[in-house]
């Protein structure tokens, strides 16, 4: 995998590029700000990243988490913020990451989102992308796949998770105001999760080709 700075840049790029799409998804069943929130957060991350010199993955992820907490503004701020902070704790002091550590980081991030948001799978949230993604990732590992393939499997599972969110009622977050009327719409937070995983997949593949 490329270095952590490049990875975070890739996340910022894909989120900012999809600002409008994410906002539109949130407009249908929420308050029309998920893209705005996340883009504001990752714009701030980009600024901090420009001044970052450490290669400590934990330190960089912690910076990302803190920045999202103070700039995103919506529920996704404390949720992604906590997720990055928890992943940071796992990667503390490390400069390269193997499959096992990556899986553990993803697991810790999901745990953070669950602790913070008290949601479970099936409530039409980012968890409906992330939990299947984690399962697919570890499944890939068990089958001996390398990091790019594991990430690719995770991304595909997250995409399926997005489709699944269209079929269920939101019971957490603002979309729960709509009750049954939230059916038929995909969750914005699940979509931003998917986008980030897909950006990491693309980066990992490109990095291997270059290597």
């Amino acid at each position: 995998m490329a270095n952590v700075i490049a990875a975070i840049e890739a996340l910022a790029d894909i989120i900012i590029a999809n600002k409008e799409k994410l906002t539109e998804l949130d407009a249908a069943i929420g308050d029309a700000d998920h893209g705005i929130n996340m883009a504001r957060g990752f714009e701030a991350v980009r600024v901090k990243l420009a001044a970052t010199t450490t290669e400590d993955i934990g330190a960089v992820l912690k910076m990302v988490g803190m920045t999202l907490i103070s700039t995103v503004g919506g529920a996704s701020g404390p949720l992604y913020g906590t997720a990055f902070m928890r992943a940071a704790a796992i990667a503390q002091g490390q400069t390269v990451i193997n499959n096992d550590t990556a899986a553990e980081m993803l697991r810790a991030a999901i745990g953070g989102i669950k602790d913070r948001g008290k949601a479970v799978r099936g409530e039409k949230t980012m968890l409906d992308a992330l939990e299947p993604a984690y399962e697919a990732f570890t499944q890939g590992m068990a089958e001996g796949e390398a990091l790019p393939e594991c990430l690719e499997l995770a991304t595909a599972a997250a995409a399926a998770g997005i489709e699944y969110t269209k079929t269920i009622i939101a019971t957490k977050g603002r979309a729960s105001y709509l009750g049954e009327r939230s059916i038929g719409h995909q969750d914005a937070g699940a979509t931003s999760c998917y986008l980030m995983l897909s950006a990491l997949t693309a980066l990992a593949k490109q990095h291997r080709q270059e290597a």
Binding site: R40, I69, T71, G73, P78, L79, R174
Partner: protein, 130 residues
């Protein structure tokens, strides 16, 4: 007196509620608005909440009032960032933000405990307007 922090996605809402509750409160009553984001956007920011909690702290406990579920997430994150001792003195009310803050301010102003002030805030749900 229990300090009160008002967390809203809107800076205007948080400030206005503090003004209204301040009318009913004793002079020294801490009523700290933590509304909106640092750049003026709509949203909540756990670091602003953290600073407001510290500002509202007089040693008698702090009650945090929130507008929406996502404000609870930021408030709980702020609590996680507090040191252990202060953290134990902070409660987040599950109460209507405006009605609860006014009722809580009246109760806090006469020196009631954090438990009592929290109960009063949450009881505001059952106040009738007419």
């Amino acid at each position: 007196m229990v300090g009160i922090v008002v967390v809203s996605h809107s800076a205007k809402v948080a400030e206005g509620i503090c003004e209204l509750a301040g009318q009913m409160a004793a002079p020294g009553q801490k009523l700290i608005a933590a509304g909106g984001m640092a750049d003026g956007s709509i949203g909540t920011d756990a670091f602003r909440i953290l600073a407001a909690i510290e500002e509202a702290n007089t040693g008698d406990g702090i009650l945090v009032m929130v507008d929406l579920g996502s404000a609870v997430l930021s408030a709980e994150l702020a609590l996680d960032m507090l040191d252990g001792e202060l953290k134990g003195q902070v409660a987040i009310a599950d109460a209507p933000i405006l009605e609860g803050t006014i009722a809580a301010a009246v109760d806090a102003s006469i020196g009631q405990s954090l438990v009592s002030v929290t109960k009063t805030a949450e009881g505001a749900r059952d106040l009738r307007k007419r």
